[in-house]
């Protein structure tokens, strides 16, 4: 009994790591743009499709397909960033919602148009189980955990010490002041956006071997999972996002086991609505940020 719960919690932490890598990009984009990116899950999907294409059509190894998946997503994110996201600096919140909804529709359906809407089998990755502390865990899950930790430590360091991280924080605090002191705000927005999209793609490629199937509409579910996380974490808050993702991952895992699998995908929004009733500013933020 106890070991089952523990196993579910470990599974939840792995799921949480996946969500965390996707969500942190979205929360950083919110930080600099004050806009929720409804198309964020689409970059997760694009990364996965890029990797699937590399393995199935180009015959590359899984490691190389990670590079292909992430790089192709970066190219697409650059185009979207140049033409759409940069225009959203200083635009009202509604514009952000509508524009990113539009991008989500375009990206998702273009992929379906090109590759078809059916489920595709992802044949790559390390799915052999390994035994750690008496628990059996697929190798890929261990990799996801390790990558998640590296990503978050890296982001913390970047946000605190590098020039790019500092300008990101500056833009998220006050756009006008940044313009006054000569920070190229559209450039910061573009870079943050590409970084976020690349992280989403990385998460997609890493998760694909665990999920096995790949399909055009998969990004939508990821977007819907990410939204409650970034709100719970406090919008624009990197550390808060990490813990909120873990909480959601574990909660989903427990609900799926003890309540019913079919309720797993609503856990996020149900928790979100309950949480907003007593802490409207997010779990890890003391004041309203927006």
């Amino acid at each position: 009994m106890f070991s089952t719960i523990l196993e579910q919690i470990i599974n939840g932490i792995v799921t949480g790591s996946v969500y965390a890598i996707v969500a942190v990009g979205m929360t950083m984009i919110f930080g600099v743009l004050r806009a929720i990116n409804f198309a964020h899950g689409e970059y997760y999907m694009l990364g996965t499709f890029g990797a699937w294409f590399a393995i199935d059509y180009l015959g590359l190894s899984y490691e190389a397909s990670i590079v292909v998946g992430v790089l192709s997503t970066i190219v697409i994110a650059y185009v979207v960033g140049k033409f759409v996201m940069q225009r959203m600096v200083g635009a009202p919140a509604e514009s952000g919602v509508l524009a990113t909804l539009g991008i989500a529709l375009v990206l998702q359906n273009t992929v379906i148009l090109v590759f078809g809407g059916g489920y595709k089998f992802f044949s790559g990755g390390y799915i052999e189980p390994v035994s750690i502390l008496g628990f059996s865990l697929a190798e890929q899950r261990v990799i996801i955990l390790i990558v998640c930790l590296i990503v978050f430590i890296g982001l913390e360091l970047m946000v605190t010490y590098t020039r790019m991280g500092k300008s990101m924080r500056a833009v998220s605090q006050n756009v006008e002041c940044c313009e006054v002191v000569g920070i190229d705000v559209p450039q910061v927005v573009l870079r943050t956006f590409i970084l976020g999209a690349a992280l989403a793609a990385l998460s997609g490629v890493l998760t694909a071997p665990v999920n096995v199937s790949v399909y055009g509409g998969m990004g939508e579910l990821i977007t819907f999972k990410t939204l409650p996380i970034i709100i719970m974490g406090g919008l624009g808050n990197v550390r808060g996002t990490f813990f909120a993702a873990m909480i959601l991952g574990i909660a989903e895992s427990l609900v799926a086991t003890y309540v019913g699998l079919q309720f797993r995908d609503t856990v996020g929004f149900a928790t979100l609505i309950l949480m907003l009733m007593w802490r409207p500013h997010g779990l890890f933020s003391t004041q309203a940020r927006f």
């Binding site: 225009r87 539009g102 989500a104 273009t110 609503t266 409207p280």
Partner: protein
């Protein structure tokens, strides 16, 4: 205002009335000149116009961007379908019940949601759609899950000895047209009333509105419920028209479509919503051959609207309307 200006506007109004009557006549005669397929598209446009009117009250007049319309649309469709299939209640009871159910459910949902601002509010309303779909899928004893409800009867009216079933496309068109015109008049009356002006005040500056004594919280809640009632009635008509309801009625697609209709037509204008539903449902139907292209076109439409037509197409239509109205 000079005298000449007055006479000019007088002249315009004289021409607008016959033009309006002409449009009404065109709407009334549509089933006789258009093909069944076009009439079907018009019915869908008229049905979608209802939740769009509701959303317009919320987005266009009160300034609250909501994605919950699909949830209330679905609640209306299910309420109506369940009543008709289980109890065989008459059509007007179903429509009223659908509107009331959506409005009643909007109350407990609106109380926590309306405490939030901009982005969080949008997110919370999106959550309603997702939770609604999960309930429709999993409360199998009530909703029959993924199978959905089928063979919902076509609207049936019984007045004493007279009884009449709205079975054909033409008959349903007139029913939808009647409901559509009533809803449009209803919205017009609401926005022309002092309440409508208070809503606009909230949209423009909520803090200022509150400080001059407008009970903003109560207004927002009532408009949220009202928008749900419109969506519920629309959902009811949709259920009776298609005669099937499934969990897919709770889809983001519907919320996105309603939003495109309102913002594309012109938020905060009634003519914009009417025009928007015809235009965007027409676009959807025209692109029905390839659903992927249809959604891509929708997405591009959203981008074009956001970046080039901030106010939607309403200013363009109004200018056209004025120029036609003032032409000899």
């Amino acid at each position: 205002m000079s005298l000449t200006e007055v006479s000019q506007s007088q002249q315009r109004r004289d021409l607008r009335l016959p033009l309006g009557l002409l449009l009404l006549l065109a709407a009334l005669s549509a089933p006789f000149v258009a093909s069944t397929y076009v009439v079907h598209a018009l019915i869908i446009a008229l049905i979608f116009m209802l939740p769009a009117h509701g959303l317009n009250l919320l987005v266009g007049y009160t300034g609250l961007l909501s994605l919950a319309q699909a949830a209330f649309f679905g609640i209306g469709a299910y309420a109506s379908g369940l009543l008709a299939v289980t109890y065989g209640t008459p059509f007007y009871v179903n429509v009223a019940a659908a509107g009331l159910a959506a409005g009643a459910i909007a109350l407990p949902l609106g109380i926590p949601a309306l405490r939030l601002r901009s982005t969080s509010f949008v997110m919370c309303t999106l959550g309603f759609v997702i939770i609604g779909q999960a309930i429709a899928k999993n409360w199998i004893s009530l909703t029959r899950g993924d199978m959905g409800l089928s063979s919902i009867p076509k609207p049936h009216f019984a007045l004493g000895p007279l009884s009449f079933t709205v079975s054909g496309t033409t008959a349903f068109y007139y029913l939808a047209l009647t409901v559509g015109i009533l809803a449009t008049l209803g919205v017009w009356m609401i926005v022309r009333s002092p309440a409508g002006r208070n809503m606009i005040a909230i949209r423009e500056n909520e803090t200022l509105a509150e400080s001059v004594g407008i009970p903003t919280w109560r207004y927002k809640l009532i408009v949220f419920m009202l928008s749900a009632v419109f969506a519920g009635v629309g959902g009811s008509l949709y259920a009776h028209y298609l005669t099937v309801v499934s969990p897919l009625t709770f889809q983001m697609y519907y919320s996105t479509t309603m939003l495109i209709i309102v913002l594309g037509g012109g938020a905060g204008t009634i003519s914009g919503v009417v025009f928007g539903s015809l235009l965007f449902v027409g676009l959807t139907e025209a692109l029905r051959v390839t659903p992927e292209l249809r959604m891509i076109a929708y997405g591009l439409c959203l981008l074009v609207l956001v970046f080039w037509f901030r106010k939607g197409f309403a200013p363009v239509i109004n200018r056209l309307w004025d120029s036609i109205g003032s032409a000899k």
